[in-house]
């Protein structure tokens, strides 16, 4: 590894080290909030609804206007264009007009000299509501049939008959709570007026949408709005749609006042005003034969979407598409409902509904195993997708059947069965400290289920000194996309990564880019960049052929461009920079775009059949936990992970995605507990009452490896997407906790365990286990 780093170039020069690592550790990496402001710049805050559902009767802003430092105040009536910031589907006003639909919904906005003055000013409004009865929970919304978009039912209408016919039946019910993103950088945006439009800096995963929304809000053509994002301080889906309102308000004020305007949420504002992972209420009926081999399944998934559609339609689709997880189910029916509640509109979060669908199935598989009196792992293994049993409920063939061998490797590598036996023995002799273990598979479909998003463009420039710039529509949120694309471009031209700069993502460089989401960033943008590189290489080859008067074949390696004739004789070799200089003089076009769209995908969502995914990423994890049966407090002793990234594009980056995804998933299922009061006000609104994992919570013994297999599909260098899939490996922690509780029944019954499994919830589970044991 090259360890030379220079301050003049903040980018690192090792291919698998994050391109911004040096900038990160020195504090030189700039985020939106760090950009120096002009002297007269203003800061935004919004006044929000304190009523979960109601009509706005009267808004009195006199004291807001007179508050110190206030320069401008906006309500819905002041919006020159469309008062709408909904993604994909409408239904989300920038500022509430007439109706408020959740506590925390913006009603008016203030621009003031400092952010502190803006925040103080918005508290001085007097807002009168005509309160209406709010819908706050999934159950209530189901009773009221309140949906944000219509539900879908896929699969076998006669499922009940198949379930009844199955020798063994098992029913599971699970309420799965959501999750706060808690990206470390709160949402932020900055607008600078220009004579020909407006420039926006945003911390967003979807710049084209920010641009489009701003254009619509301002009533301006899109070409007058340019949007840039160099990096985000974490996003995880939380900046896919949630960044747009801040940017739109900055743009509005900037256009009205002709001044630079910044809006950065305080942490509490962020936790109140932005959507989270969806709660799901899941019911699963499984029918199996006496060996636990699945014959039929009926899934009922209802999501708490909040007040507007946002991305919920796709999120529930993905939950439905992952209810099978890694198991072949001959006959299935899957119902997915999008419930409307008077809470903040829930949104994308790493896994996008997949984790909820998968967790429900994993809980159901444990229930089935207990029903049979079998080891859960054995029942799981009997049901994996395998030769002849490779069709998903939505009729996509699972072509690469790696989950079986992957799990076999993990079982032996983690010494699962020996540890299982040791744990049972330990538990017999330890009334207080009980251990649990679980192995859970993950199969995650890769591609946006909204087909048209599966496209990307890139732009590659060759400069005469041999340096290369690549730009693409993907955004950098820490996941290492720029590092991977840089490595792809460097490899294409056979130069060190230090020769390649991945430029900040901008809408005026790459138009109409898809959100960086669905784990697709490297697949799409990496391939687009590679295509652009191939175009440039062909041009250079044609140029040298013409120069030498013979047809040559080019090879780019170790900083040199080499040209060979048909016999393989080397005719010309020179450093890339010299070649580019020659080509420039030879009037060759040294900039190329590349475009990629994922082939062979698409599904009929009304019927629930097709090929929504280009391929699947796979993984499995074994977690072992220790529970204090007196208090319910616990820790994770050891986790072993084997994960399938295909041919890794950057092993250090991929390892970070796996470990980080696992720990984030563990937070979702353990200590991170969202809570609302009876009026619909969120109570978990600060890091003092919403607890994401710290270093102490990470398994002390943490063994992570790559499963050695390349992608069957021709993705970029046969790699696989890695952003979301590892998140769900954490299901093993939740299942292991439940296993530890079940030890109190001597493994006869499996007591219900809530999600998240806080110490309190584990305590309740233990109490249930004790009661079940008495009744046995």
């Amino acid at each position: 590894m090259n360890k030379k780093h220079g301050s003049s170039n903040n980018q690192t020069s090792a291919p698998d080290v994050h391109e911004s690592a040096v900038a990160h550790v020195t504090g030189r990496a700039l985020y939106v909030d760090d950009i120096p402001l002009p002297e007269n710049a203003l800061h935004v805050a919004v006044g929000v609804s304190s009523c979960a559902k109601g009509r706005l009767e009267k808004i009195t802003l006199t004291d807001v206007w007179s508050s110190e430092g206030v320069v401008d105040v906006l309500t819905a009536a002041d919006i020159p264009g469309v008062n709408e910031v909904g993604a994909v589907l409408p239904g989300e006003p920038l500022l509430a007009d007439d109706l408020v639909e959740y506590i925390g919904q913006p009603i008016f906005a203030v621009a003031a000299r400092t952010k502190e003055l803006a925040r103080v000013a918005v508290q001085r409004a007097q807002v009168d509501y005509h309160a209406l009865e709010p819908t706050l929970e999934i159950e209530q919304a189901l009773e009221e049939e309140a949906f944000v978009t219509p539900g879908r039912v896929w699969g076998d209408a006669s499922i009940q008959d198949h379930l009844s016919a199955a020798p063994v039946a098992s029913h599971s019910q699970l309420y799965i709570r959501g999750q706060e993103h808690f990206y470390l950088e709160p949402q932020a945006a900055f607008a600078m007026p220009r004579d020909d439009g407006i420039s926006i800096m945003t911390s967003s995963q979807h710049l084209a949408e920010v641009q489009k929304i701003i254009a619509e809000v301002l009533n301006q053509p899109m070409h007058r709005v340019s949007v840039e994002c160099r990096r985000m301080g974490g996003a995880f889906g939380g900046k896919e749609t949630q960044a747009a309102p801040l940017a739109a308000l900055c743009a509005l004020f900037a256009q009205r006042l002709g001044r630079a305007v910044k809006y950065r949420y305080a942490r509490k504002e962020d936790m109140v005003q932005t959507g989270k992972r969806h709660d799901f209420s899941a019911g699963i009926r499984l029918g199996a034969d006496e060996d636990g081999v699945l014959q039929a399944a009926d899934f009922h998934l209802a999501a708490k979407c909040g007040f507007s559609p946002d991305l919920s339609d796709g999120i529930v689709d993905r939950a439905m598409l992952h209810a099978d997880n890694a198991y072949f189910i001959p006959r299935a029916r899957i119902t997915g409902l999008r419930m409307k509640t008077n809470t903040v509109s829930n949104t994308a979060f790493r896994g996008f509904g997949g984790p909820q669908g998968m967790l429900a199935m994993e809980a159901a598989m444990d229930d089935l195993a207990y029903r049979l009196g079998e080891e859960p792992l054995v029942v799981r293994q009997r049901n994996f997708y395998r030769e002849g049993h490779d069709l998903t409920p939505y009729k996509q063939q699972v072509k690469q059947l790696c989950i079986g061998p992957l799990v076999e490797d993990l079982v032996s590598g983690s010494e699962y069965w020996a540890r299982r036996a040791a744990i049972k023995k330990h538990n017999q002799g330890n009334p207080r400290w009980r251990k649990g273990i679980s192995l859970n598979p993950v199969k995650f479909g890769i591609s946006f289920t909204l087909k048209h998003l599966n496209q990307a463009s890139a732009l590659v420039h060759l400069y005469t000194d041999g340096s290369i710039e690549v730009a693409h529509g993907g955004t950098e949120m820490g996941q290492g996309l720029y590092t991977k694309v840089r490595a792809i471009v460097a490899r294409a031209f056979g130069v060190p990564v230090s020769c390649v700069l991945n430029a900040a993502t901008r809408t005026d460089k790459i138009p109409n880019a898809s959100p960086t989401a669905a784990s697709s960033g490297a697949d799409l943008n990496g391939m687009a960049a590679l295509t652009a590189c191939e175009t440039l290489k062909e041009r250079l080859q044609a140029f040298v052929s013409e120069q030498l008067g013979v047809s040559v074949k080019a090879s780019f390696a170790q900083g040199e461009a080499c040209f060979y004739d048909d016999q393989g004789t080397l005719l010309k070799s020179l450093p890339l920079g010299e070649l580019v200089s020659e080509a420039y003089v030879g009037r060759v076009h040294l900039s190329a775009t590349g475009f990629y769209s994922t082939p062979d995908i698409g599904m009929d969502k009304d019927v629930g059949e097709g090929r929504p995914f280009y391929y699947f990423a796979n993984g499995a994890a074994v977690s072992e936990v220790e529970v204090d049966t007196q208090t319910g407090q616990y820790h994770v002793l050891r986790t072993d992970i084997l994960h399938d990234v295909g041919n890794s594009l950057a092993s250090g980056i991929d390892m970070g995605q796996i470990e980080g995804g696992f720990v984030q998933g563990m937070g979702w299922l353990t200590t991170e507990e969202l809570s609302w009061d009876d009026s619909g006000k969120i109570m978990s609104n600060a890091p003092s009452n919403y607890k994401i994992p710290t270093a102490h919570d990470v398994p002390k013994d943490f063994r992570v490896g790559f499963f050695d297999s390349e992608n069957l599909e021709p993705t970029v260098h046969r790699s696989k997407a890695v952003g979301e899939p590892p998140f769900m490996l954490a299901i093993s922690v939740w299942c292991a906790l439940r296993d530890a509780c079940a030890s109190l029944t001597d493994y006869r019954t499996l007591p219900p365990l809530a999600v998240p499994a806080t110490a309190e919830q584990v305590f309740h589970c233990l109490q249930r286990a004790k009661k079940a044991d008495v009744s046995n």
Partner: protein
């Protein structure tokens, strides 16, 4: 000569060393935090705000009081420290670590170990690890648990921490502990600069208790003031509740309030003694004080412990302040002082309501005193939280137990997190007094808990769980289960 705008009513001037340079800035609003002093006044934007409440560590910087030739260093959360704290001190920010093109060993290890992803928390982690590298005994403190403890106040949402811990284990012992000691010239410049300080009335940091008492007895008419020691709770009034004050009175410089005195079997702890000082005190005898020490290691985070004081923990009168039940179980006495003199208040009488104490407006808490237990092992504490590190107690139980054989000869039980104020559980003490451990009436204990306590249900825990924990933890302690 530069002529700035006139001094605002709440402006102060700051003279300090920032990294290796002397910095003097006038016209800093007294409500400015160290974080925004660095970011807005000095354009040092490497230090980040992740939460503004001292919970995430992204804003971690290192301070030194610059005492002696070999000054000591400690990490703090810059978001909840007033800028006025910096006067006469040195602050090290992430910009001050690399020497020219050469990264600090911690920075280099973070790069090599893939310790950053989005990078936003990274400066804070780097500072927490560099702080660890400056500890005198660092070479023996680079194990997994040591490094995990050193970053207990820092949140990362991307990496899963393993690479950061590895970076710390690899690098902390390889740093130069003297790297940040300022030159004599800079120190001399600082001393002369401090003499010209303006606006010191707005950020009053008295050296003596007398000055403090005088200031409290003579409030500036019509001007709001905030009294703080470490400010880890008090300063949230500014950052979270958006209040602004005309005057801040900082009592952390008063030497007599920062002492721990042990004499005649009594311990007297100055109210401005930090949690870090207390941790060091109890760590002197780790076997005897294992319970207290373990609890203090989980008190806030390192950055919080370096600023938070014992007096602050009591005077904020929070129902979840962990020291209150412990001191109730020790039956501590609190010494309040003012120009009128000193008075002793039993801790039982100190808390008068939710976030209310019996201190008068002109009074300050001077010291906390109690009889040293013959054996600290008699004093047990249990902290139940959602997350192990840096979390507010759902239930905090302190139990001071004396046994005569198997008979309970003396018992004090105190609870935090159960009600509006910390409470002594007299009913249960009376019930258990004189009983024999092996024949306790546990059903009676359960009933008494049910009838005497009505704990709150909130974001941290349900009433039911809190009651269950009180029962369980008392049982665990008495039966030594």
């Amino acid at each position: 000569m530069k002529q700035g705008p006139p001094l605002q009513e709440s402006d102060i001037s700051i003279s300090c060393v920032v990294n290796d340079s002397l910095v003097q800035v006038d016209q800093v609003d007294v409500n400015t935090s160290v974080l925004y002093f660095l970011r807005d006044h000095l354009n040092l934007r490497g230090t980040k705000e992740g939460c503004g409440s001292g919970d995430c560590g992204a804003c971690t910087v290192i301070l030194s009081d610059l005492e002696g030739d070999d000054p000591s260093y400690y990490a703090i959360n810059s978001c909840i420290a007033p800028a006025g704290v910096l006067n006469g001190k040195q602050v090290i920010s992430v910009e001050g670590l690399a020497i020219g093109e050469t990264l600090h060993p911690v920075q280099q290890a973070m790069v090599d170990c893939h310790g950053s992803q989005c990078g936003f928390c990274t400066p804070g982690f780097v500072m927490a690890l560099v702080d660890h590298s400056l500890k005198p005994d660092v070479s023996s403190q680079c194990g997994y648990a040591d490094v995990v403890s050193a970053i207990s106040g820092n949140l990362c949402r991307c990496t899963g921490y393993r690479p950061i811990v590895k970076a710390g284990m690899d690098a902390c012992a390889r740093a130069n502990p003297k790297q940040f000691v300022p030159t004599d010239d800079v120190r001399a410049g600082l001393l002369s600069g401090l003499k010209e300080e303006r606006g010191e009335q707005n950020y009053l940091a008295p050296d003596t208790e007398l000055e403090l008492a005088q200031a409290l007895a003579n409030p500036l008419p019509g001007r709001s003031r905030l009294l703080l020691a470490g400010g880890t709770d008090a300063w949230l009034e500014v950052t979270q509740n958006l209040r602004s004050f005309d005057q801040v009175i900082d009592l952390s410089k008063i030497k007599s309030l920062t002492q721990i005195d042990e004499s005649h079997g009594r311990l007297a702890i100055g109210s401005a003694t930090t949690q870090t000082q207390l941790l060091e005190y109890f760590d002197q005898d780790p076997s005897a004080c294992a319970h207290i020490s373990a609890f203090l290691h989980r008190f806030g985070s390192k950055q919080v412990r370096n600023r938070a004081t014992l007096g602050g923990n009591l005077c904020s009168a929070s129902p979840v302040g962990d020291w209150s039940p412990l001191l109730l179980a020790l039956d501590a006495e609190l010494v309040a002082a003012s120009l009128k003199g000193r008075r002793t208040i039993s801790i039982r009488d100190f808390f008068t309501g939710y976030r209310k104490t019996c201190l008068g407006a002109d009074e300050y808490l001077a010291s906390i005193e109690f009889e040293l237990p013959a054996d600290w092992r008699a004093v047990q504490v249990h902290k139940v939280t959602k997350r192990f590190e840096d979390d507010i107690s759902s239930v905090f139980l302190a139990l001071n137990l004396h046994l005569d054989g198997l008979k309970i000869s003396g018992l004090r039980i105190a609870l935090g997190g159960m009600a509006e104020t910390p409470i002594r559980f007299f009913e249960l003490e009376d019930f258990l007094q004189g009983q024999r451990i092996e024949s306790l009436d546990w059903a009676g204990v359960k009933n008494l808990i049910r009838s005497s306590l009505s704990p709150i249900s909130d974001v941290r825990a349900s009433s039911e769980y809190r009651s269950a924990m009180v029962y369980q933890l008392i049982r665990t302690t008495l039966l030594n289960e």
